[in-house]
Amino acid sequence: GCPKDDFQEELVIRPLHSGDIYASFQFRTLWETDFMRGNKVSHYRLFPKSLGQVISKFSVRELHISFTQGYWRTMQWGQPFLPSPPGAELWVWFQDSVTDVDGTWKELTNVLSGIFCASLNFIDSTNTVQPSASFKPLGIGNVTDHRFLRYATLPREIVCTENLTPWKKLLPCGSKAGLAVLLKSEKLFHSSFHSQAVHIRPVCQDWQCKTTSWELRQTLNVVFDLHTPGQGKLEWSLFKMFSRTLTEACPLASSSKIYIDITDDPQGEQFEVSPATHLLSQAMVLGDRRTFSVYDLTQQITFGTVRSLNLLIRWKSRDMLRPLLHAERYVAGYGLQTGEIHTLMYNNHPYRSFPVLLLDSVPWYLRLYIHTLTVTSKGKDNKPSYIHYQPSKDRVRPHLLEMLVQLPPNSVTEVTVQFERALLKWTEYTPDPNHGFYVGSSVISSLVPSIVAMDTNSTREQPLFSSFFPCKEESSYFMRVYTEPLLVNLPTPDFSMPYNVICLTCTVVAVGYGSLYNLLTRSFQIEEPSPGLAKRIANIIRKMRGVPPL
């Protein structure tokens, strides 16, 4: 029969302690098919055809692409379910049957650029790296040769409606039914943080992993600012956030749910949710057991008599919390000659230390000096146990620095490295050179100790938001933190003067040539002075008369 496919959609709403609200949409399509087989797949139902063709044509094993506007403020908002750096980020694991990975990568970025209407064609060898340890596959597979992995970021990429529209078109119900009707661009882009992503990977269908299916997850994370709508009242509703309410689930979805995080307020003292629901669910997410109120959109009673669902969350009081792992990055130094990149990593666990993998990809025009790398924790030197450094080559590839650092409990670890700014050719500057050049976010990946035991059985029925990162151990969960991108100024030449410079420099060379030529080819002679003008005219007249000259 037909290969089995399944579509699930969910929305998680988490009120944040700063008063902002975090909404995370996940749309997952599971399809038991084999793109790598000889005979091409031709009948697509729930899985979008454009992505299926991308997978089979470019022999992709895993693809992760995200477009983010804004920076996730970990200190105020806690940890996101799915972290992403500002700008565009793309990382791909290719199958080991690919012979020319760089050529396939170039074609893939151009095709994805067309699919998502983004300028991913700016991804080239100068901002692509092959991390050796930080981006292990998130799906199943037995190839871990990092020659088949490519990672690139474009921190300058701006996300707008043109990127949202093709993303929405990939959904089975489009934006016509189900949770996707809430995705209206006027409200979504009027937010503090907005990130849309597509993740494709092969997963196991059952416990023994006898069959594998392809999983496509489309995620959209958005944080709405408390103060933006101008009301100032600590009250959120679906209508206020998205200017729409829900009327039905997507008919093609096997599950369509809304989860509201009420862990911090089980008794309803801090905020109240209406319409009330009796469905409760508990899930292990980010190392913590959280409780959620569940609204099942496949049940007709959820919509009530008005046949539309507008969830309302009203705050009564506030509190603050501290995330376990969080990082900052900034550029120190003054002037346009040198500088220093400082990355600070905070471990807020009271007694446990854990290792983190720091990945830094710095463009070639900021020349890093690796002998100035210092890692200090609590004022003392903290030597990393694994350093993988690939120096940059001018105009070909960026620096790649990956380190495994052990963060002591309740401490700040500071990583500093000095760099020198290069002067580029005048054609290599962007049209706004004094804006500066972007350095992509650092990626910090780590296994953070969890407060409660995690469930390692990944095939059990779980909400989508807690099943993204595979869980291998019970005592820790995987977390990825992105730092801020940096904006660095480079010294600029004068762009209005190419012709003048060429002329002046050639003049100096000609002065050298001319002096030496004169001295080499001429010899000293006694100068016979030429007579004055009057005498010369007199001589001419005398010659005409036939008389000897003066």
Binding site: I370, H371, I502, T505, S523, F524, I526
Partner: protein, 435 residues
């Protein structure tokens, strides 16, 4: 002569040691006029650190020194200051000894020419006496050691000092007449930066003159000597390059060192003409102008050798000056080397025309370089054109200095053969022009 020289060496070493211990050392080692991407000490340390990390220093674009430097500093990195001070001392002593020997030969030739009555009667005041030539070697050593450019270069631990030492040893061995050592030191100098290749012609002319082999293209003895020298030079060059290959096990250093010097990919500002020119070059013409600028350094060799075949030491001075001005990444250390030779031609100063102007311009430009760099990079109130203008002026001043000395040298030679006080046909005083 040993005592004043020792005193001079002590003073020089003291000045350098004092500056090493002060806070100025870090500041000086960052100055772009003193260090270039080829010679910076920071990059040597970076290359050694990359080697410790297990990555080849030539896999990136930060390290452009030759493998022998890696090998040398692998053992000497803790004694780097002493190494650079020793290099300066070796250069000064080598220049001292070579100028002393050269002066002896000049005086001897002059004596023979006087006895043979080859000089016209009125140019007796141009004849040099041993008394005036006595202090010249000491002055040469002083000009090198106490030149602020040399001191800055040493305190910054720029490997230009090592290059200067090798070239000075080459000059010493050439003037002493030792053909093998001359070839070996020249090949070491060429191995470090390609441009000393042009000194081959000067060395050949000098050694031929010293062995009384006439420079006649039809004679076998001339070609036999040239072949011998070329064999020794190329042989030692191949041995050194082969040794470098075995040191790191790959040929990566060839594009990283020589490809870098010739193709100028790094546009870090320096005191030369290349950086801004190629920063503003239209991409279409880049290769053409790169070839033009590189040929510019090499093609003065043949005309200068033909004109100065009787005076190979002056030819060495001219070649060193041309290399220092027109090379792709010049620093003040290169300038210090050819300026050290100026006391040898101190008898020419009556024929120098522009020396006051040139020295004022050089002093002013040396003072303005750091000022305009600060205004561009740190204060942000000037732009790159200011620094570029001073670069142009500095190079024009150097070119005028060199051509002025060349003019004075040729003029003195002319006077020595035609007489000092020249008269016109009607008996009145004549003026000499170049026609």
């Amino acid at each position: 002569m040993a005592a004043p020289l020792t005193l001079l060496l002590l003073v020089a070493v003291t000045v350098r040691a004092a500056l090493y211990r002060s806070s100025l050392a870090d500041l000086i080692s960052e100055r772009v006029e003193v260090v270039s991407p080829l010679t910076a000490w920071k990059r040597v340390v970076e290359g050694l650190a990359l080697l410790d990390l297990g990555v080849s220093p030539y896999s990136g674009d930060v390290f452009h020194e030759t493998p022998l430097i890696i090998y040398l500093f692998h053992f000497l990195v803790d004694y780097a200051e002493i190494t650079f001070m020793l290099a300066d001392v070796i250069t000064a002593v080598a220049l001292y000894l070579s100028v002393k020997d050269y002066n002896k030969q000049v005086f001897r030739k002059q004596k023979y020419a006087l006895e043979a009555d080859r000089y016209p009667l009125d140019c007796l005041e141009l004849i040099r006496s041993p008394k005036e030539m006595q202090y010249i070697p000491l002055k040469v050593a002083m000009f090198y050691l106490l030149n602020p450019f040399t001191i800055l270069s040493c305190v910054a631990k720029s490997t230009c000092g090592l290059n200067n030492a090798v070239i000075a040893l080459f000059v010493l061995s050439t003037i002493k007449g030792n053909v093998l050592l001359s070839a070996i030191f020249l090949s070491l100098a060429t191995y470090q930066s390609i441009y000393p290749l042009t000194l081959c012609a000067a060395a050949l002319l000098y050694l031929l003159q010293r062995q009384y082999i006439p420079v006649n293209l039809r004679r076998f003895s001339f070609w036999w000597f040239v072949a011998q020298y070329a064999f020794m030079y190329l042989g030692s060059l191949f041995v050194i390059v082969g040794l470098s290959f075995f040191l790191l096990g790959s040929w990566d250093f060839l594009p990283s060192v020589y490809g870098f010097i010739l193709s100028v990919p790094d546009l870090t500002p320096n005191i030369g003409l290349f950086w801004y020119f190629f920063a503003e070059m239209f991409e279409h013409f880049r290769l053409f102008f790169l070839c033009v600028f590189q040929i510019n350094v090499f093609f003065y060799t043949v005309p200068l050798s033909i004109k100065l075949k009787e005076h190979p030491v002056f030819l060495i001075f001219m070649q060193l000056a041309v290399i220092s001005i027109f090379k792709s990444y010049p620093t003040v250390g290169d300038i210090a080397l050819y300026m050290a030779f100026l006391p040898v031609w101190s008898h020419l100063h009556r024929f120098l025309r522009n020396i006051f102007l040139v020295s004022c311009v050089l002093l002013a430009c040396s003072a303005l370089f750091p000022v305009l760099w600060h205004l561009w990079i740190y204060a942000g109130s000037a732009n790159s054109n200011f620094y570029y203008a001073i670069t142009l002026l500095f190079n024009v001043a150097q070119i005028l200095l060199v051509s002025d000395y060349f003019y004075a040298f040729l003029r003195r030679e002319h006077h020595l053969s035609h007489g000092l006080y020249l008269k016109r046909k009607d008996g009145s005083e004549a003026t000499l022009v170049l026609k």
